[in-house]
């Protein structure tokens, strides 16, 4: 497997704060990588660095073999990097279909017209929103808006999908639905980087997990190794989690 995304010594400063500090990480094509860490660890900032919203202060970001450290967000989108937002951001005054059609046109490269709409509708069927295609996006429930984010992400024809806490605020049944959806997306060959606080989700989806703490990458590896790593337990998972795990194992 060749690396689709490569971060080398990436740092992002906000004034005196190093929100992301000297992170080196490579994500192979087809992987589902989990990114975990406490609040304020720099997870969202890392996504913003990759997408060009807050470009790296130092270090390099390479995507599909090309240097994208300095590209603007719209250029990253057109290259095949799609993201969902921690706080969902639909175009409220447009229909659900138009929201997805916009993604298909501007990032997916389709021209204005029926084809973009047809393709948008396909994605809406895939995420189960076809019925509300012509409703106003502002009228959707939170769970539906999160699914709309998935549909938009897919319409961008991404090579890499960055999911920032797509399950926050969802109930157990909705989380299960979202899990199904992410699996189906990964099965299409899309590389996924998922930021998630629910360990259940991370463990059931990811082939590898990376852990951020105070902006630094403190561990990266197979799920089992990560949850047993003392530094990770210390920094994020906590003693109670470790004890529960130990109890479960015998």
């Amino acid at each position: 497997m060749s690396a689709l995304l490569e971060l080398s010594s990436v740092t992002r400063r906000f004034g005196g704060l190093r929100a992301v500090s000297d992170v080196t990480l490579s994500v192979p094509q087809g992987e589902v990588l989990g990114l975990i860490g406490p609040n304020g660890a720099g997870k969202t900032t890392l996504v913003n660095v990759i997408t060009g919203v807050h470009p790296a202060s130092a270090g390099k970001v390479r995507f599909a073999g090309e240097d994208i450290t300095r590209v603007r967000p719209y250029q990253a989108a057109r290259r095949g990097i799609a993201r969902t937002f921690q706080i969902v951001q639909p175009f409220p005054g447009m229909t659900v279909l138009e929201n997805v059609a916009a993604a298909a046109m501007f990032a997916g490269g389709l021209s204005y017209g029926q084809r973009a709409r047809d393709e948008a509708l396909q994605h809406l069927r895939f995420v189960g929103l076809a019925e509300v295609a012509n409703s106003n996006a502002a009228a959707l429930t939170l769970a539906m808006r999160k699914r709309l984010e998935f549909a938009k992400g897919l319409a961008m024809r991404p090579k890499l999908l960055l999911l920032d806490e797509v399950n926050a605020g969802l109930n157990a049944a909705e989380v299960d639905q979202a899990l199904e959806l992410i699996r189906a997306i990964a099965a299409r060959g899309v590389t996924v980087l998922i930021i998630e606080h629910l360990m259940k989700v991370v463990l059931s989806l990811c082939s590898r997990i990376a852990v951020l703490h105070h902006g630094e990458l403190i561990a990266a590896g197979a799920p089992q190794a990560i949850i047993e790593d003392p530094r990770v337990i210390q920094a994020y998972l906590g003693k109670r989690y470790a004890r529960a795990q130990a109890g479960a194992h015998g």
């Binding site: 603007r72 951001q89 175009f91 916009a102 501007f106 938009k152």
Partner: protein, 310 residues
């Protein structure tokens, strides 16, 4: 889109009949309405579609007026001078857009407001070229009669309004218009979705400048005397905005309806309340915008829906 185009065709054809009235008063009012229609439709590109509250209309208008006037002073034929004024406004809008459209909201509004002031001072100081505060006389077009002249400028404004409307209709039904709507809704989300926001905003700004530039040049020829405070008047910007809000922002016919309604109100109020006319006019507009937030055009949509028996 076809429906809007047909309605517009009928509308413009009806307006084209106005000179049959033969009355100088109606000709002058009609020409003025069409000119303000051009200003309002132009503002719609940047203000209505992209959601950037531009006050640069007066700057484009004054620039166009002076460009047309100065060009004619140097012997450029009238028609070429008008087109040249439009092109100059287009280029100026591109440069200005790249500089100003980084700002958002109030900051953009204020920055765009200052541009007309700066240009006015510039024109004031370039006495050799522009006549400075003395103003500038334009050649009076050689025409058979005063009536023929009035008709000529009326049809020129009508043509310009039709061209501006066509540009607006095409834009609204294209990827550019769709991208502008995305920007208006949420600019950073649009950026993330692959919209080249700078390019789209600058394009909208250029469209909002070019026709106003021509309108300014035509206006200069029409009144054949211009001076800085007259053509760089901030009221051109304010009125264009009020007209669009009055008619309905972001809609196809809103700007034209707004321009016609505003000027009709102004005429009416001015005749009946000579002393307090600006106060009365302002009050009526505030009430209209308050009670019809989507503009006068939403009235026809409401009636239309009721008429459809659904």
């Amino acid at each position: 889109m076809k429906r809007d185009a047909s309605i517009a065709l009928v509308l413009f054809a009806l307006v084209a009949l106005l000179p049959l009235s033969g009355e100088a008063y109606w000709m002058r009012l009609g020409t003025t309405m069409l000119m303000y229609g051009v200003l309002a439709m132009s503002w719609n590109f940047i203000g209505g579609m992209a959601g950037y509250p531009s006050f640069a209309v007066a700057a484009f208008f004054g620039l166009g007026a002076y460009a047309g006037a100065v060009a004619q002073k140097f012997g450029v034929p009238m028609g070429f001078a008008w087109v040249g004024a439009g092109l100059l406004a287009l280029v100026f809008a591109a440069l200005l857009g790249v500089a100003l459209l980084r700002l958002r909201g109030h900051y953009f509004a204020i920055a765009s407001l200052v541009v007309a002031e700066v240009l006015r001072e510039l024109v004031n100081s370039m006495t050799g070229l522009t006549g400075g505060g003395m103003g500038l006389n334009l050649p009076i077009p050689a025409m058979a009669s005063v009536d023929a002249q009035a008709r000529f400028f009326f049809y020129v404004m009508l043509l310009l309004a039709a061209v501006t409307f066509t540009a607006m209709l095409i834009t609204a039904n294209s990827k550019l218009g769709f991208g502008l709507r995305c920007i208006q809704q949420n600019e950073s989300a649009a950026d993330m979705l692959g919209v080249d926001t700078t390019f789209y905003k600058v394009s909208a700004f250029m469209l909002s400048g070019v026709f106003v530039g021509v309108a300014g040049a035509v206006y200069a020829s029409w009144v054949y005397y211009i001076e800085p405070p007259d053509v760089f008047d901030v009221l051109y910007s304010v009125k264009a905005i009020v007209m669009v809000l009055l008619g309905g922002a972001g809609s196809m016919f809103g700007p034209l309806v707004g321009a016609a309604a505003f000027l009709s109100l102004e005429e009416l109020v001015w005749r009946n309340y000579l002393e307090v006319h600006t106060g009365v006019l302002g009050l009526m507009i505030v009430l209209l915008v308050l009670f019809l937030p989507k503009g006068l055009i939403s009235l026809s949509q409401r009636l239309g829906r009721r008429g459809k028996l659904r």
